[in-house]
């Protein structure tokens, strides 16, 4: 967990990186899912509104939908985890982001996101 991450109550995170944002799911979510066996990511160029489903992740037990924490346009996807979803369960693997987006989300969209300490409290 990076302390600059902003998280949703549904366990997605968004992390500002220069003019882009990195979006993924939290370590807590990965741990809860268990063995991850399939990830479906959108195509570069696709646009999503906040709270819209943009990805699906399947563990051995079930399929889970992943929601956009803020609205934006996909500019890069993590092909590595699509090819080898089990990397997400590998603690030594660091590139666990799903997509990078460009976003012009205004402050309203960030209002319900939790900062690091609030999220930690939420999952405890």
């Amino acid at each position: 967990m990076n302390e600059s991450m902003l998280c949703t109550k549904t366990h997605e995170y968004v992390l500002e990186q220069g003019d882009k944002y990195e979006v993924g799911i939290t370590d807590y979510a990965i741990e809860q899912l268990g063995d991850i066996v399939f990830i479906e990511l959108p195509e570069v160029g696709a646009e999503f509104c906040k709270n819209e489903v943009f990805a699906t992740i399947e563990s051995v037990k079930a399929a889970s939908e992943i929601y956009m924490p803020i609205s934006g346009k996909i500019v890069e996807i993590n092909e590595e985890i699509v090819d080898s979803p089990e990397l997400l369960n590998d603690e030594s693997y660091e590139n666990k982001w799903f997509v990078k987006i460009e976003s012009s989300a205004d402050q309203v969209e960030f209002a319900d996101l939790l900062d690091y300490s609030d999220y930690k409290e939420e999952i405890e």
Partner: protein, 367 residues
């Protein structure tokens, strides 16, 4: 109120993730479902399945009573032999799937699904009129430990049980000076045993088996891997693949229906009719051709027409692909080799109908 088995605290201490299943707080995984799955296929795993039901039926009419309840021919059971069967309703639908053990003359043990114990007992009582029989629910007195895998019998033998029961037989035995019933059965497709023990000894036995099993590579296995293991072996899960609107014939269980049984049983007319002509639906095995996972409830299509529904699906850790069980219309062109489509999140994914089981069984059935 969620129930706990007598091993609940052991699971928590082992770091298991606990979930609610059929009214019980049960371990779904200790480490990783895939790792646990492979442990059972490669060496040996131990499962707490104490949530399952134990019902004793005894009395002068125990045999004719049970024979009225199931399509199998219970008269064929000799002492200490077991049979897989279904409790059927008047229209042949499956109330539960069971294993019946003949313990001795006029005394039988039934192992039932946790989620169905109450329904089973109600149904038995409703059918009891005119039979001199006593039904006792012993579920709350017994724990059930499954020890499964290619090394399961080696472990048992190393503990002094040199004369294990044959496949689908049960025996009294002694493990660490505790009296147990040992049954050569399981729900994984592997060789192994299920050990019935009184609750007060289950924690001790669990610890002892884990300790003695170390040299064989034993690990505790949760319900997650139990599900992937039984799916590879194409063993039905009640509530997913079996229900009161599905007959044994439709479920592909004709092998467990006696063909020449003279006695009447619930649903006999319907079951015999379907044995002759087939049911309106049939169970098939699927292998996903496209990269997608079929799950319970997903629709199955053929030539743009909905022809069925997936009842169990997931990954096969051993095959390395995705497999499923589905019910489809009983049509000749929906057979092994046919390509059908599974609707996953509004997109069609190709799948092929293949033979069951998905992974060859390695229990005594085939030896």
């Amino acid at each position: 109120m969620t129930k706990q088995t007598f091993l609940h605290d052991k699971h928590v201490a082992l770091g298991a993730r606990m979930v609610d299943f059929a009214g019980w707080h049960m371990p779904v995984q200790y480490s990783s479902i895939i790792e646990e799955h492979k442990t059972v296929r490669e060496s040996i795993g131990i499962f707490d399945v104490s949530h399952m039901g134990e019902i004793i039926v005894f009395g002068e009419d125990a045999l004719p009573f049970l024979n009225k309840l199931v399509p199998q021919d219970v008269t064929k059971l000799v002492d200490l032999k077991a049979v897989y069967c279904q409790l059927t309703n008047k229209t042949g639908g499956i109330i539960d799937d069971l294993i019946i053990y003949k313990l001795e003359d006029k005394k039988y043990l039934i192992i039932a699904n946790a989620s169905r114990i109450d329904e089973d007992l109600n149904w038995m009582v409703r059918n009891k009129c005119g039979f001199d029989v006593t039904i006792v629910n012993e579920s709350h007195n017994y724990s059930l430990l499954a020890v499964q895998g290619p090394k399961a019998c080696d472990l048992m033998k190393s503990l002094g049980l040199t004369d294990l029961p044959e496949f689908f037989h049960i025996k009294r035995g002694e493990l660490f000076n505790i009296n147990v019933w040992i049954s050569r059965t399981g729900y994984t497709g592997e060789d192994g045993v299920e050990i019935l023990v009184r609750n007060e000894f289950s924690e001790y036995l669990w610890d002892k088996l884990l300790e003695a099993g170390k040299e064989f590579g034993i690990k505790p296995i949760g319900l997650g891997a139990r599900d992937t293991l039984r799916l590879e072996a194409a063993l039905h899960l009640y509530g997913n693949d079996l229900d009161e609107d599905t007959t044994p014939i439709e479920a592909g269980l004709a092998w467990s229906v006696a063909k020449n049984k003279t006695e009447d049983y619930n649903g006999k007319a319907k079951i015999l009719e379907q044995l002759e002509n087939g049911g309106s639906k049939k169970l098939v095995g699927l292998k996903m051709l496209d990269k997608g996972i079929a799950r319970h409830g997903y629709d199955v299509y053929f030539n743009n027409e909905k022809v069925g529904v997936v009842t169990s699906g997931g990954i096969s850790p051993i095959r390395g692909d995705n497999i499923a069980l589905a019910y489809v219309k009983n049509l000749d062109n929906l057979a092994v080799g046919s390509t059908i489509q599974v609707l996953i999140r509004d997109k069609f994914y190709n799948a092929e109908i293949i033979k069951r089981p998905f992974v060859a069984k390695r229990n005594k059935e085939n030896k």
